[in-house]
Subunit: 135 residues, 2 copies
Amino acid sequence: MRSQVADDIDAVLKEVAFNADGLVAAIAQQHDTGEVLMMAWMNAEALAETLATRRVCYFSRSRGKLWRKGESSGQTQRLVDLRLDCDGDALLLLVDQTGVACHTGRRSCFYRAARPEGLVEIAAPEVSPDALYRS
Amino acid sequence: MRSQVADDIDAVLKEVAFNADGLVAAIAQQHDTGEVLMMAWMNAEALAETLATRRVCYFSRSRGKLWRKGESSGQTQRLVDLRLDCDGDALLLLVDQTGVACHTGRRSCFYRAARPEGLVEIAAPEVSPDALYRS
């Protein structure tokens, strides 16, 4: 007999319009402040794991495998709520971000703003990337 | 002689990592409330027009042409700020949304939530889609 959780995950998965590469865009937003932290991609396996564990897991297109956010940096994302858009090709993840989301050590990946004088960095690193990925 | 605005737009465009289809993902967020409204796509022309006019213009993948948000519904988006992520393949648009962002008449496209009982609608339409697209 399948578990209730597995049935619920299947109910979500069948509403997702994965693209030709089997991926769906996922936007991570800090649940309480509303800050948009990053955008990445999920395949069905990453989405199912995220819903089952409530720890956010993406699919890394560059590495071609599951990317358990924070597995090397410790900067994990706890899933608070998951939303699906009207045509099913984008996910909004409301998360509780531990530390910083960006590999540059900044809280959000969206730290460059288009201003009249050109692209401007509007946030500084909170931690050193070297410290994040120290082995 | 090129205008300063055109030079600034070029400075942004050359930092964007458009995908194989010439598109970049664009997330629209209401600038003051933080609500994530929708995700769509831009090509270089749509992005340049958005920066020049401060009215958000996407590229419709289904129609294969520029999609000036609100051109048929009146539900326009005024650009307040535009952010680029660390690897240049996603944009965050801080906008002032007139009316509703979603073609279903809801404020946000992300109105379905994955809950233990399955997908649940967490927002009702604020206006009728028929009223939005009345000719």
